[in-house]
């Protein structure tokens, strides 16, 4: 268990190389990958989220922890898949049409991935057709929309309306975020959820797929 504690610490402290090395030796020693994920790695990222909410961690700390998590995940992923394990859910994420800002979107994607979700990153300037395509071809549970500008917020509504028009709005959860976006606006356009930051986006996504 000493090693496993090292993995936990490596993720919390954002030490990707150690996280990867410890995950490799744990797998080699026969530790079940599901146990590594659920008992060590995800709790480590939850602790990172807690530290962020408590203003002890800032954006750089979130990012390096998420990176350490990702490196360890890459080690155990083939074993998880071989064991038939499923991700917490699949999220198609993108910055909406007309908006090219992606730091916030990338941060949310990194935190969701660290929270056990599989991420389909559609990039920036993403229109309804691309989100619909991702929904149709990738078995997406959640569609996550980002906008940094008040000028591009209407694109969020257009995308949700296109999901309605395609008759699939109730088959997928749609969440929204970004600096000018509010919970009130999320409600107004019929989104399933809003998160103020990347850390609480994980809690939100888990609650929407019933994994919270």
């Amino acid at each position: 268990m000493e090693n496993l504690k090292t993995l936990y610490t490596a993720i919390v402290e954002g030490d990707a190389k150690t996280a990867k090395a410890v995950a490799e030796s744990a797998i080699a020693a026969g530790v079940p990958p599901q146990q590594l994920l659920n008992e060590i790695m995800i709790p480590a990222m939850d602790e990172v989220g807690r530290l962020f909410e408590a203003n002890e961690y800032f954006v750089p700390e979130l990012l390096i922890s998420a990176r350490a998590m990702k490196w360890a995940l890459e080690v155990i992923k083939p074993h998880l898949i071989a064991g038939g394990a499923q991700p917490a859910g699949r999220v198609a994420i993108g910055t909406v049409k007309g908006d090219l800002h992606d730091i916030g979107k990338n941060l949310v994607a990194a935190m969701l991935e660290g929270g056990g979700f599989e991420i389909i990153d559609l990039g920036v300037d993403v229109g309804a057709d691309q989100f619909l395509e991702a929904y149709r071809t990738k078995q997406v549970d959640i569609v996550a929309l980002s906008a940094l500008l008040t000028t591009t917020m209407p694109s969020m509504k257009q995308i949700i309306d296109e999901f309605k028009a395609a008759g699939v709005r109730d088959k997928v959860k749609i969440i929204v975020g970004g600096a000018p976006v509010t919970a009130e606006y999320a409600g107004e356009i019929g989104a399933d959820g809003y998160s103020e930051n990347a850390s609480s986006a994980v809690t939100l996504a888990r609650s929407l797929v019933g994994a919270g």
Binding site: K17, F58, L63, D99, L107, D125, T150, A179, E188
Partner: protein, 250 residues
Amino acid sequence: MRYKLISCEVFYREMCAVIAQAPHMVDVEFLPKGLHDIGAKGMSARLQAVLDAVDVTLYDAILFGYGLCNNGLVGLTAPAIPLVIPRAHDCITLFLGSKERYQEYFTAHPGVYFKTSGWIERGAPTGELSQLSIQHRTGMDRSYAELVEKYGEDNAQYLWEMLGNHHRNYSQYTFIEMGIEPDDRFERQTEADAAAKGWAYAKVQGDMGLIRRLLHGEWHADEFLVVPPGWRVVARVNERIIDAVPPATA
């Protein structure tokens, strides 16, 4: 008429040029451009404090040299005289002369970063506001050297890639020429910046019309919001951009 203009300093040269020829008497107070970077709540609190400090017995109205500015105007309450605000997402609408022209240009060129004399002279946050900016408070404004010192070389490289370039998806500088510049120095500066980044460069003619109508008291309802005394500013995600609601409304 006597007006009090409270304006972002990004319009310094434009406002001064129009005030000089305005048919009304206009007192002006410029506020730092860095208010834009401290977040909506911080910005509106500071603007409200400035509004509340205006001696309303001296003026017929207060004019705002601001757009919605990422919700930085949300929640502002007009004092005992009307508050006049352009219906604009941000300053670019005021430089281009109408929200329709801005929307049209923005839709056709999503990767454009605009430059004007004010953006060049006064674009970077300075003084105490630079310490209050969201970038600073979330740890996103650190230099590469600072990242290396705090997180080590390996993590610093990754963080620099993730946080170091806010404009990585931009591809063009557009200089908006307002006609009040002393010479072509700002235009040349923008062109040089574009070349240095390998971006495209374009120049468009600005339009002083909206700023002029603000200061001349020509407040058409589709271009300006006149907030009655005691009413509050709310954001609208439609072509109105902002509206005023009476005090009792939640």
